[in-house]
């Protein structure tokens, strides 16, 4: 990395002669402050638009909204809105219905617990870790363990995932499919195939449609009475079967829509990354007689890793906010099968349970922050640093 001193030049001696002493002084000052002038506008705008909403919404999650004569009031209720989600009446909705674990699940849980414990111990043994770092590891292991336990017990037979686990399913499956699909398509269109420009533009199309529009589009496509696939569906002898009545059927339709919508995002960023990689390395690999497959994994892949990593992070953050597809396709049904966290919050918000809605939103914030931090510390640092 370039140190700032090197770049903190004091203006060019060969540059245009400044009009006045004042101008020169100003120019020099502006040059000296370059470091801050690069960053400050963005930071200020973000602070301006984020601090107040952030504080305000924390406050909202601790109150109950009530309409009273003369207007409305917020009644402070402490953590009651959160308690409702974890132990109270919304528990099944939020966390899901826990199955009594089968022996296999116990075994699996044991393995995972052991791995996490090992992770914590290894961190301690390495010695150079400080107290905060160790605490961080322990907290990570604890939360990760709880989440895995929740996933195991709600996704096995007899259990039913709540909006928390459903959202995680959407995100993990969605991102995996989108990433590999996007990468394949980006790689193929970066080859010198005739007609690649046509494909590039076509592949971008789904991204251009407003998410609400896409959701409605998939609703009509997946409709078993008026959608285009009706004859096909009936020919397969499935006329009496409906995806909409089956929890996983409905979830899969939501995920298909999500993949359709977001693969272009992966595609365009990866394409740009592939296009801007330096040629000489590839040429060197070719001279060495490496195959296309080897060249990709040894030369190209490491080059695009930083962008890949960022891309996955951004998509993860965005993916957790999935709402339009489940909202329009099934409104979260059948039952609560397709309900994502944001939809959960949105339904509460729409019906004036503003405190409850803010609590779900903050639960989402905790979850995503945890995921993002773990991802950055465990994956992103290494990948981005690989350069």
């Amino acid at each position: 990395m370039l140190t700032d001193r090197k770049l903190r030049g004091t203006g060019s001696p060969n540059g245009p002669v400044p009009l006045s002493f004042l101008g020169q002084g100003l120019a020099a000052w502006v040059d000296r402050q370059a470091r801050f002038l690069f960053l400050l506008p963005a930071v200020l705008l973000l602070i301006l638009l984020s601090i107040f909403p952030l504080i305000f919404s924390v406050y909202l999650s601790l109150v109950r909204f009530q309409l009273v004569p003369g207007g409305f009031r917020f009644r402070f209720v402490g953590l009651a809105n959160y308690r409702k989600l974890i132990t109270g009446i919304e528990r099944e909705h939020f966390l899901g219905l826990l199955a009594s674990p089968a022996p296999l699940i116990w075994a699996l849980a044991g393995v995972i617990a052991a791995v996490l414990l090992l992770f914590v111990i290894r961190g301690m043994v390495r010695g150079r870790s400080t107290l905060p770092a160790m605490a961080g590891r322990a907290v990570f292991a604890l939360i990760a363990g709880t989440l895995v336990w929740l996933i195991l017990r709600t996704l096995t037979s007899g259990g039913r995932p709540g909006s928390l686990v459903t959202t995680m399913v959407y995100v993990f499956i969605g991102i995996t499919v989108q990433y590999w699909l996007g990468l394949t398509l980006a790689y193929l269109t970066s080859q010198h195939l005739p007609g690649r420009r046509f494909f590039r533009v076509v592949f971008l199309l789904p991204m251009m449609i407003t998410p609400v529009g896409i959701a409605y589009m998939f609703r009509i496509l997946a409709n078993l009475g008026i959608g285009p696939f009706t004859p096909l569906w009936e020919a397969l002898g499935l006329a009496e079967v409906s995806w909409a009545s089956d929890p996983w059927g409905a979830r899969i339709v939501v995920m298909i829509g999500d993949v359709w919508q977001w693969t272009p995002f992966m595609f365009v960023v990866l394409l740009a990354a592939l296009e801007s990689q330096p040629l000489e390395l590839l040429e060197a690999a070719m001279v060495d007689g490496a195959s296309r497959w080897q060249t990709f994994w040894r030369v190209t892949w490491p080059q695009i890793l930083p962008v890949t990593s960022t891309l996955v992070l951004i998509r993860m953050i965005e993916g957790f906010k999935i709402i339009d597809l489940p909202n329009v396709l099934t409104n979260g049904g059948p039952g609560t099968a397709t309900e994502s966290l944001t939809l959960h919050a949105f339904i509460a918000w729409r019906t004036l349970d503003i405190g409850g809605s803010a609590a779900v939103a903050y639960a989402l914030l905790f979850l995503v922050t945890f995921m993002a931090l773990s991802y950055i510390n465990l994956v992103h640092r290494r990948l981005a640093g690989a350069m």
Binding site: R64, Q66, L67, V68, P69, G70, G71, F72, G88, I89, H93, R160, N223, L224, G225, I226, A239, E240, V241, S242, W243, A244, S245, P247, A250, N327, L329, T330, N331, G332, G333, P334, G335, T336, A337, I347, A348, W349, R350, T351, L352, D353
Partner: protein
Amino acid sequence: MNVRRQLRLSLALLVATVLVSAVSVPAASSRPFAGVTVNVLTFTGPQIAEPLQRRGPAFTRLTGARINVVTVPFSDLYQKILTDLATGTNSYHAFVFAPQWMVDYVTPGYLEDITMRVSADRNIQWADIAPFFRNFSASFGGRVYTIPLDGDFQMVYYRSDQLRRFGLQPPQTWEDYLRVAQALHRKDLNGDGRADFGSCIAKKRGAQSYWMIWSVAGALLQSQGTNQGAFFDVDSFAPLTNNAAFAEALRIYTETTRYGPPDELNWDVGDSRAGFMTGRCGLSLDWGDIGTLAIDPKTSKVKNKVGAVILPGSRRVLDRRTGQLVACNSTTCPHATGGVNHAPFAAFGGWSGGINKAAPARVKDAAYAFMSYMSQPAQANVDVTIGITGFNPYRRSQFQNTNLWVKAGMSAAAARNYLGAIEASLGSPNMVLDLRIPQNQRYQQVVLDTAIAKLLAKQITIEQAMKEITDGWEAITNELGRDQQSQAYRSALGVKR
């Protein structure tokens, strides 16, 4: 370029303003609201917004007030109105909304009390409006807050040709409904060679399902007239969702799914209307819209093959002391016809106009005048026969003249049948008023709707559903204050205490 455009625009506006004011000043004396602009908020049409926009200019010529109709997506209208009022933004002077939401706007005191205005207004012909809409829909705690523009309540629609074909009678009770549905299910009802469905009901979660269930439950739960209430017990404010009557309603509602399309759980009212219009459904449960939609050749293949009937009833009703079902007699069902207790459900309540209390006095006057104008028979009786307005009949004078309906495309027999069903519903003293207590959306759209969706998806049993609804409702009541909620419930039902 942008700056120049704006400059030009403002210049043009300035010139226009000067011209307009120059022209309109002499006329001001005869036009009481010259120079007033009324911002009316409603949802993006064409329904509801269209008649407001269409009649705006005529109203301007008459009174001088300009009507500016602002629209937002239907799904977000409620929040948008409340946010505007609660934050004191007050960008709108009048709202056209569903009166079920009224309580959330009236309790904090955001809506103008128009009782005096209505009683002083002769043109509105208040007495011509059906009693249910006057006394319940438009009022809260004995005061009038809205002007009805539309009559909303549910009826059962049937295919008159198919019933004749199979020698069936229109359903009088929900048992009849199931029988007819079963008889029509898997029969080809529209001649396309495919098996069609006996009954189509909008059962999608987060759509209209929570009204549909109450259309079934109403007749079982309420028999002593509107102010008995069909959601809670008026005295104890205990939910009426944990008893034999509600269990029976849930059983019937689940049973209808057997005679429906395979993905009925994902059908909203748009789908069920589409299904009925293309002849794929034998029976359907819906608001008044099907009547006008069925005669529009752009949307319908069943013109003049549609019959309507008051919501099916029940021969047994809930005894609130024991929680059991008892047979109908003159004390248990005083309003029964032929031993059957009917309880037409005024779901959602019918679009109505309300006025923002915080608007300037002159604007409020103009806004009231406009709503009154829209509701006066001269305008309303034409608008209710036009499908695109989305307005359904709510005045007595709207039944007297079948000519308007025949002119709109109905056969005389179909018009008589349709109006007959509406008249029977509106005339019933046992109409069910939709739940109208603060934050009713949490009771209905969250707790009730979710439990029904889970029941239909077979995630829970009827007993579990009843428990979930009852517990959920009690939790919200305790959260918001039992006294306040109970008081609001009594006010909505007009029960004096």
